[in-house]
């Protein structure tokens, strides 16, 4: 496997390098032209003029990424990342509207596939002076957490996050309508996603995950049956800032964004199965007949962010109402949750910033949840000790150091759960060789004692990666 992939990757890498070098040369030439104009101290340089006056803007980059698992993993590929990506961005700015499009042509060697991925395709306008509208495929973000999301229920791409792609790819786009209205000191955001857009969660195609039904890590890939949902998602935020303190309240109506529900995929058996699984005495003989799905979920929450001492303090909470399991007694559907976050960030020294977060995830109706997972249930291999803690806690720390005139940055992000006794380290560095060329390297390292906990289940997914990006 690995021999073959090295041979298939090598020509790709050479091709990429040649392309890169030629584009760097092209960039140098452009720079040289620009520098001449600097020398005579004038702004009359055509390139800049054009840049400023043209309503059309084109840009993009090419990126080569390679990452490998640091140990044997049960997934098909030994690579966690192996791709060549070409990004194209185009925008048009008119007086009354704005058009933005961007997307990637991605050759993904891990899944041996080449595909076009549209990241943005939007029309934006302000039909009234106090209203902004953005319609189309877009990335949406809000909330105060760093790599922890409470009220931000917009789609995430966990596969990208685990594989070492740029942070940009942690946020997946959705086809949505976003309205933002402004009145006095308040802003009202409303986002409607007509067709539910789930996270790009782990399926086993690239990364393995723990199955409570199998009692071990699985990598089902295409065999991971997930029943798709086509309903709406509605997200709301009302925000204001008073004396430098930012306040926001949030609401969400939709579905869990990962498939945290299970049911029989065979409809004739579904009713009996579901009735039995709820009672905790079902014995499904064949896992193939169970499919995961996205149960309905509504939430509300609030956040605040303010300067405190020399740094920044933020806190946020969210209440997740798992509508289909409002009593918490259905073993096949995730219970309601209360999520709480507090964080603090401070620059400790010049170009050195540290931040910490404390995150609490309380599973509500815990007793009902416990009772729905009886020891005797053969569906769940070793039920009791695999239960999610009632109060799952996570501490995070980020250290960021920039040097060489900010051209070289080191980043360490660490998740540690004192309740699950597991952790996830994300060290990385980024070197900006020039405005065109940058190089990044990093790792995703998982540690833990038990096979099933949130981070520990990914121990075999631990990987290291490299990326080289050239802007054009």
């Amino acid at each position: 496997m690995s021999k073959i992939s090295i041979f298939t990757k090598l020509p790709l890498a050479i091709l990429f390098t040649v392309t890169m070098i030629s584009s760097v040369n092209a960039a140098n030439v452009t720079n040289a032209v620009a520098e001449d104009d600097w020398a005579d101290d004038s702004w009359g340089d055509d390139e800049w003029q054009e840049q400023a006056s043209s309503a059309w803007q084109f840009s993009g980059f090419a990126e080569l990424g390679q990452g490998n698992f640091l140990q044997d993993n049960i997934v098909d590929s030994s690579s966690s990342l192996s791709e060549l990506r070409a990004r194209a961005e185009i925008s048009y700015s008119a007086k009354t509207f704005e058009f933005n499009a961007s997307g990637d042509l991605l050759h993904d060697q891990v899944i041996s596939d080449t595909q076009w991925q549209t990241r943005e395709l939007t029309l934006s306008a302000s039909p009234f002076s106090m209203l902004d509208v953005k319609i189309g495929r877009q990335v949406l973000t809000w909330g105060t957490g760093d790599y922890l999301f409470l009220n931000d229920l917009f789609a995430k791409d966990w596969q990208s996050f685990f594989s070492g792609r740029d942070d940009e790819y942690l946020k997946a786009p959705s086809n949505s309508v976003r309205l933002t209205a402004y009145a006095s000191d308040f802003s009202f955001d409303f986002a409607w996603t007509p067709t539910f857009t789930p996270d790009n969660y782990l399926t086993g195609e690239r990364f393995a995950f723990y199955s409570p039904i199998s009692g071990e890590n699985i990598a089902p890939g295409d065999d991971f049956l997930v029943e798709q949902t086509r309903g709406d998602q509605f997200s709301l935020r009302i925000a204001t800032t008073k004396q430098g303190v930012e306040y926001a309240v949030y609401g969400y109506k939709g579905y869990w964004t990962t498939p945290v529900g299970f049911k029989a995929s065979d409809t004739s058996a579904a009713n009996t199965f579901n009735a039995n699984i709820i009672k905790g005495n079902v014995v499904p003989t064949d896992n193939q007949h169970i499919s995961a799905y996205f149960p309905e979920m509504n939430s509300f929450g609030a956040s605040m962010r303010m300067p405190l001492g020399k740094g920044l303090f933020n806190s946020e909470f969210a209440y997740y109402n798992s509508v289909e399991d409002s009593q918490g007694d259905k073993a096949n559907i995730a219970n309601s949750q209360l999520r709480i976050l507090v964080g603090y960030e401070q620059e400790l020294a010049k170009d050195f910033t540290a931040s910490m977060q404390y995150y609490l995830e309380q599973t509500l109706d815990y007793q009902a949840y416990q009772q729905s997972y009886p020891q005797s249930n053969p569906l769940y291999n070793s039920a009791e000790d695999e239960l999610v803690d009632e109060f799952r806690q996570v501490l995070t720390m980020r250290l960021r150091y920039a040097t060489m005139q900010q051209k070289l940055t080191y980043n360490l992000f660490a998740f540690y759960s004192p309740t699950d006794h597991d952790s996830y380290l994300k060290p990385s560095l980024n070197y900006r060789y020039s405005d065109q060329v940058s190089f990044s390297a990093g790792a995703n390292l998982f540690f833990g004692e038990q096979a099933h906990t949130f981070f520990a289940q990914h121990k075999d997914n631990s990987n290291a990666w490299l990326r080289l990006r050239v802007h054009y």
Binding site: N31, A34, E35, W38, D41, W43, W48, Q51, A52, Q57, S59, G60, F61, E89, S93, K95, S124, S126, D132, Q138, V139, L140, T141, W142, D167, E168, L170, K171, T180, Y182, S187, A239, T241, G244, E246, R305, P307, K310, G311, L312, E345, Q346, E347, A349, K350, D351, T353, Q405, Q406, K407, R432, S434, D435, Q436, S438, H471, Y472
Partner: protein
């Protein structure tokens, strides 16, 4: 409204006061403004005061005496450097050259509005180059009596990231200009001594009140006597080595305000440097308060960025 106009003219006047009167065009401008002031005088009671203020201003100008009070010099320099007009906009570009001669470019548009002269300010910086930072917006609420509030908008993630106040003497987007060089160092941070007054400049020595907060032991600043623009600043370490230099390479008078349009900061320890140029500088545009908000991070106020 008329009061506001008069205040603006007062500012314009005070900016002009600092210039040589020998230029005929300037005299014409002054006469024009005088006429305007007289015109307004008939309509508003407060203008009597404004008018007197202007006359006083003129009398100061006509005396053209050297200032001896360091506070006055520094205030005027701060005013001329960072508070020209009630608001302003400009396009800027920087060329960053490292010690090996490798170059990087940054291009951005700045919008600024003063809440009060020599006081708090609102600022927005819209990046257009290089392409990987295009669309990034930096927002600052400069506060004289508290740490600044700073936000960064990253369009690829649709993320409004708040940045902790932190060290203002860190590089602004990889350039040799510090945040403080862009938004202005608070004069209250330093103790100033007037060293010499030449025909053209005031030379002052500044020592930080909190030596641990900065990388220099002191700096020597040369302020143009006419425009009050600092034209040369040399920073020295404990051993007296000149470690950093800011020099103004070109100034132009725009809408009555003497404006630095080309400057350079050199790291004298390795001779790397950054040059910054401005174009399309405008003052007193009447920027509305509400554009200095989170809205402008996501939806750029195009009308003001032309």
């Amino acid at each position: 409204m008329a009061v506001k106009t008069a205040q603006r003219q007062l500012k314009t006047q005070s900016a002009q006061r600092t210039a040589h009167s020998a230029q005929p065009s300037l005299i014409i401008e002054q006469v024009f403004i005088m006429k305007n002031i007289r015109f307004i005088k008939f309509f508003t009671a407060v203008n009597t005061i404004t008018f007197i203020g202007l006359l006083l201003g003129f009398s100061q100008f006509s005396q053209a005496a050297d200032l001896t009070n360091t506070d006055d010099i520094i205030k005027q320099a701060n005013m001329a450097s960072y508070y020209a007009g009630d608001d302003g906009s400009a396009q800027a570009r920087m060329i960053i050259v490292d010690s090996n001669g490798n170059k990087q470019l940054r291009q951005f548009t700045i919008l600024r509005k003063d809440k009060q002269d020599l006081g708090d300010q609102e600022m927005l910086v819209f990046f257009s180059r290089p392409t990987d930072v295009s669309g990034t917006v930096f927002r600052v609420q400069k506060q004289v009596n508290a740490d600044d509030n700073r936000w960064l908008y990253l369009p690829a993630l649709d993320l409004v990231k708040r940045i902790s106040a932190g060290d203002k003497r860190t590089s602004f987007v990889g350039a040799h200009f510090f945040y403080e060089d862009v938004s202005g160092r608070n004069p209250a941070e330093d103790n100033f001594t007037l060293l010499t007054t030449t025909d053209s400049v005031y030379r002052l020595k500044a020592e930080p009140k909190n030596a641990n907060s900065v990388e220099f032991a002191h700096y020597i600043i040369e302020i143009d006597k006419q425009t009050f623009l600092p034209l040369l600043v040399n920073y020295f370490d404990q051993q007296g080595n000149n470690i950093r230099r800011m020099e103004v390479l070109k100034t132009t008078k725009i809408a009555g305000f003497n404006t630095v349009v080309h400057s350079k900061i050199t790291d004298l320890t390795d001779h790397s440097y950054t040059e910054m140029q401005f174009r399309k500088v405008k003052y007193n545009l009447g920027l509305p308060d509400n554009i200095f908000s989170e809205r402008s991070l996501r939806t750029a106020p195009k009308a003001w960025l032309k």
